[in-house]
Structures are given as structure tokens and as C-alpha cells.
Amino acid sequence: MNNDRTADLARRETQSSSATWTGYLRDDGRKGVRNIVLVIYTVECAQQVAHSVAAGEEDVHVIGFPGCYDNQYAIRLILSLARHPNVGAVLAVGLGCEYTRPDKIAEVVAASGRPAGWFYIQNEGGTLKSVAKGKSMVRAMRDQIRRDARRVPMTLADLVLGCECGGSDGTSGLAGNPAVGSLFDLITDAGGTCIFEEIVEMIGLKEVLMSRAAGTQARRELESAYDKAVRYCQRVRQYSISPGNFAGGLTTIEEKSMGAFAKAGSKPIQGVIKVSQAPTRPGLWLMDSVPDDHFVDFGYTNPNDTEGIMDLISGGAQIILFVTGRGSVIGSPIVPLVKITGNSQTYRRMIDDMDYNAGKLLSGEITLQGAAEELLDLVVRIASGEPSKPEALGHREYFLMYKHQDTPSLDQGCRV
């Protein structure tokens, strides 16, 4: 490498790690990179109305919980998403029979300093009247949050990134996940926060995982969470590896685990958080989304990629990096999802859906450090408002489910 190029790289690195852009300040001190109205339905019966309210409306996203019976885990998840830093206002839509209460959701959101509203479809007189009322409410709230937005400078220290992988193949552990791991290193070095999850994709890596603990407490949390994940997989006799993974060259869960763990970079892990918990300080964190032991036969941990993405958003991630070797087309509500593939064939075949080709690492066109810097530039552009590919395509998949994570003891949970 000649001196000019070295100097150029050094300059770019300095520029990237001191990047600033304008975000949205919330009352709790957190900052968002988007300013959206979130419509939340509280039972499957209200799903169609909620989507009709949001249809065609710019910056209005939808999530919802399908069950009629509520669940403490699901309520915590809904409330953490409703008060996410990218969310400016909330409309909760219920049918009128269900346990989950849209009025309480609106109350909690209003207490967080955000405009909030709610109604029951039955009280409004059915579909058409509810959609008309909902549209007028979300438009008014959108005008208000745009008008009253507190625009503030953001730096990498304000950033919380989440990473998930899905549709993995043999390139994911070679290129896509290591590229994200190097980006995570850059972000945490700059004082930012990174969250990874999928602990059921760390099966076989107990020693590797524990050797990355930042301290004694983190080590105990990691061991407890790992042991629970193994018990979970043994009990349900299902490991987090799919037909597409096998077809893509991954032979065992241990192999997939090592590839998946590459996205955690090389920095110490500060500790384990559960779904709906935000990290308490900057650095690298592992999120545990496995159900607690005595409810292990009730529900699944990550039945699909979207469920895991919702978990990461609930922890406060403002941008999600999604690594896919075989090519997934999903996006997410609330936060931009950035699509990274380590497979150049997939990148070319699904170019409309892919934001970044980490396959350049495998062809030798770029170094790992270079890929991390390119990804950082991309993340900063997207944090500044440039839409990611899934965001521009309108992908807003979501998945909220029943689960139990209510047992805060070392034996049965991971919080110590």
C-alpha cells in the first residue's frame, strides 16, 4: 500500500468515526434516526383496519399482537417498541373484546412525552368509520411530530446497532458476518452500542463465548444464557438451522454458530440483556431471546428472522444490519434494515434488495477493515435519512408472539 493510499484511508477513518448527522431527541434522552407514527393493533381481529389506516401514509408503520389473550412478555415488547427512539407518536387500535388494552398503551406512550391515541373498532361502528378516524388521527399526529421535532446532532456514541443473520450460507461466516463484526468494533471503539442475539446459534461455542466476557458478572450471565439455550434446543429437539442453510453448505449447528458469532466482532461482551431491555451502557451486548426454562415447552425462541429483529428493536437498536448469504427480502417497521450479503452471486441476483456486497472480501477486492469502513459510511448515510433498500421497497415485516421471560433467577433465567 503506498503512502497516499494509507493517508487517504486514515483520513476516511477519522472522518467516519467522527461522523455527525441530525437526529430526533426524545424526552428520555435517547435519540432516533427516524420520526414515525406507529399504529399498533392489539388483536388479530384489528389487523386489517390497522393496515388500512397506514396504507399510503408516509412515515406511518404498523405492528400488532395477534393473540386475544395477553402475555406479560408481549406487553413489555409492545411498550418498548411504542417508546422506541425512532417513534414519534402512536395510535393503538383494538377490536374491543381482547385482553390487551389499547387505552393503557396510549397512556404509557403519552407519559413518555409522545402524542398518542387509541380507539376500539366496535365503538367506532366498524371498519369504514374506524379507518377514517384512524387516518385523521395519524395525519394529525404526523403533522405534530414533524412540526415539534427536536432536531439534534448525533454521533456514533449515540448509535445503537443491532445485527441479525438469516438465510445464511457458507459465505455468511466468511464475509458477511465478519464485515459486520469489524463494523461493530469500529462503533464500540467510538463509544457506540451494538447488540447481537441468536444465542441458539452459539450452540457448541461455550468456551469461545465465555472467553469474550468483559468481567465476572458478564461471564456468569453468558454462561447462564448459554446453558439455558442448550437445554431449550435439547428439549424442543430443534436447532436453529434450516433447509436453506444446509443447501448453502452449512452442515452442523456448530458450524453455523461459528459463522454467526463472527458478527460479534472482537470486543468484550458487556453482559446479557433480555427482550425489551436496553443496554445500560455503551459497548457490545448479547440479547437473550430464549424462553425461560419452566415455560420452555410453551413457545419458540426465534421462529423466524423477523421475530429476532423485533427483539433487537425492542432493545433500542436504531438501525438493524441483516446478513443473508442466500438472500432474504425482509425489512422491518420502526427502524431501517440494511441488507448485507457475503455471496456475490446473491448480490447480483437480488440487487434490488441488497444494500452491500461483502462478497468483495472473498474475491480479494477489499480488506476486512475496508469493508467495515464502507459499511460505516453506509450506516451513517442511512442514519442521516437515506432509505435502505428494504425501507425504500416498503418492507415492514413484523412478528410479535407469546413468550415467557419472567423469571429473574440464575437457575431459570439469565439475569443475575
Binding site: T171, I241, P243, G249, T251, T252, I253, E254, G259, L362
Partner: protein, 109 residues
């Protein structure tokens, strides 16, 4: 030139960076190696090739860690996958279709 990538110097398998369409062709090993070898059978991009002879019951090493165990003798240059490598955890994977990964243990009747 068809290439594969060896991640860790302890690894006895490497990941194909291109498809090997027919057996008997030369493959260059990149990463923690500079050697060449012959692929003995078709191996798709992302799949693993054995770098050395691996006796039955030995560990398959990738990323420097054991990712499974050889269920039969594997010769250098052969494809390493579900038909000759078993997880130490996941029993179900041994029942999947070796080409597609499709499940064979759930009824659709």
C-alpha cells in the same frame, strides 16, 4: 482458477468460493494455506472440501473449532456435508436430504 478458503490453520476443511462442477479438477486453497489440491467430486459454492484424509470418528475442524464429527472415512478432496459429518448436538440434521436440506421426518399426508 477454482478457489476455496481455509479460515484457520487448524482447519481440516475449506469453504468453496466457486462451484466445482465435476470431480478431478484443481482447486487452489486461499486463506490459511497456499497449497493446491484436487476436488474429487462436484462441490457447490459455500460448501466444504476436505483438505486432508479424515478418519471415521475424527473431528471436522472449521474456524479452528470442532463443527462436527466424521461419520465415515473422508478422503482429501471430497465434499464434507450431512452424509459424512454429524453435529455433536443436532440429531435431526442427520435425517435431512443431503442435497436440499429438506426434512424427511415430517408427514404431509
Amino acid at each position: 482458477m477454482i478457489t476455496c478458503f481455509r479460515i484457520n490453520r487448524l482447519d481440516n476443511v475449506a469453504t468453496m468460493l466457486y462451484d466445482v462442477v465435476t470431480g478431478g479438477i484443481d482447486v487452489r486453497v486461499l486463506g490459511e494455506s497456499t497449497e493446491g489440491m484436487k476436488a474429487l467430486e462436484p462441490i457447490k459454492l459455500g460448501h466444504k472440501i476436505a483438505l486432508i484424509d479424515i478418519p471415521e470418528g475424527s473431528q471436522i475442524i472449521k474456524f479452528g473449532v470442532a463443527i462436527g464429527c466424521a461419520t465415515c472415512r473422508i478422503r482429501a478432496g471430497e465434499w464434507v456435508h450431512l452424509h459424512n459429518c454429524a453435529s455433536g448436538f443436532d440429531e435431526r440434521s442427520q435425517t435431512l436430504d443431503v442435497e436440499t436440506g429438506a426434512s424427511t421426518d415430517v408427514s404431509y399426508e
